[in-house]
């Protein structure tokens, strides 16, 4: 951990936050009693700003902004080790996933590159119906301003004949795009 985090929790308390997290995830975060099994199981704690057990506690303490702006929620790989070992049967990994979605909605995403990669991935799916690996990487590299990212892999992949220059466009790509459009319409309808 690089920093010591000092919190004035009374100033940043959001009474509604735990309820919203519990509704979004379908998980009872309030049951967590800080045994620490999740953090002990987590391979990613060394890159987190808050270990996952602290994320759970911060939710209980209504610390919406700290949680939704944390790096931890975007560095969770959904490996499910925490969920498997939680003695309270909280699907911790599911909670982390719901937090990622909430941080998007509230425009609090800390690790923009990871969000960008996911967005470009989905754009590829919406356009072609399948993800186009060869096209996705250069577009992501350009937008993330890392032009030479993974360039060392290109000659290896080329040599093995695994570099496809054209996407495989499926016939039903309009059906797939339709899923994205109906989802958007669904959310608009329910917000109204």
């Amino acid at each position: 951990m690089e920093h010591i985090h000092t919190l004035s929790i009374q100033n940043t308390y959001d009474a509604d936050f735990i309820k919203r997290v519990e509704e979004a995830s379908g998980q009872q975060v309030s049951k967590c009693y800080q045994c620490g099994n999740c953090s002990a199981s987590c391979n990613y704690t060394y890159v987190y700003d808050y270990p996952v057990n602290q994320i759970m506690r911060l939710i209980q303490l209504g610390q919406r902004e700290i949680v939704l702006k944390s790096r931890s929620i975007w560095l969770c790989a959904s490996c499910q080790a925490c969920t498997t070992r939680c003695p309270c049967n909280i699907e911790v990994s599911h909670v982390m996933e719901s937090l990622r979605i909430m941080s998007r909605e509230e425009k609090m995403v800390s690790l923009k590159d990871i969000q960008l990669f996911y967005d470009e991935f989905l754009r590829s799916v919406k356009t072609f119906g399948r993800v186009f690996e060869t096209g996705l990487l250069p577009v992501f590299n350009m937008k993330a301003k890392r032009p030479f990212g993974d360039m060392d892999l290109a000659p290896l992949v080329l040599k093995k004949g695994k570099l496809h220059l054209l996407p495989s466009r499926i016939k039903g790509r309009k059906e797939v795009a339709g899923i994205f459009e109906r989802l958007e319409a669904f959310h608009k309808k329910h917000e109204a």
Binding site: N43, T84, E91, G172, E175, G178, I179, R182
Partner: protein, 298 residues
Amino acid sequence: MKRIAYYQGCSLEGLASEYDISTRAVCDALGIELIEIPDWNCCGSSPAHSADPLLSSALAGRNLAIAEAEGCDVVMTPCPGCLKSLKGALETCHDPQQCDAFREILGMPFEGRIRAISVLELLYKDVGVDALRAQVQKPYADQVIVPYYGCLLTRPPKFADFDDPENPVSMDRLLEAVGVTVPDFPYKTECCGATYGVTRNDIVGKLTGRILDMALRVGAEAVAVACPLCQQNLDLRQAQVNRHMNRTFDLPVVYITQVIGIALGIAPKELGLDKLFVNADFLLRSAREEEPQAKTIG
């Protein structure tokens, strides 16, 4: 002959093409008929999960709906990430609170009576270890391979509903059945760094590095995997791992279907053995050559 819907997923069309051809070849040799889902689409993978669970379910749902329309009641996918999405779609479909939204967004008829399994589950449960052993034509001589399961094949247990989440043994038993020596492997379910290969490959360097290191420590000549993303991190990115960790790993990372295929007498080329980045020709060895004896004087 069993008739099973086959969902290969995007990875197996690209970087993991050898997983696709070896899965098809092994199923063919074992008399399992795979019906490729016509005009299948991407399941959305982690990006869809992190954007909206309904998006993930609907994208995966389209494939399930097509498979059902083809008259299949089981869909098999070699990719654990795809499997997660397919199972998620079925869960959403049967959840009374989400069912209507799911159907509205999916926009095509779907009953949700199909079952989704991995190729590992198909080989372990439907074919079975004993039946596989009976079909072996070229048992391995003395090859030592550790099985690496990764995250999603067995976790979370309620959802995966397959093998043991802490100490899975299905791949161990399948490898033993074809004559491979299988040491205990303490890191068989540790995460390899997952999707962070592109965005944070320092993380993959560290986590994958630990797995390769442990494989060497227990005396493995190779790691067997059943996930295209794990394989990509361990094999394609092995040179990056070496740079990050200042190591000189040169450890083959082979798909379980390739290991089994060789033992079933399928030609290496038909299993895509030449498509792996770290050379895995050791699989073809008939027996290890004797170490040259030190000459004794006198």
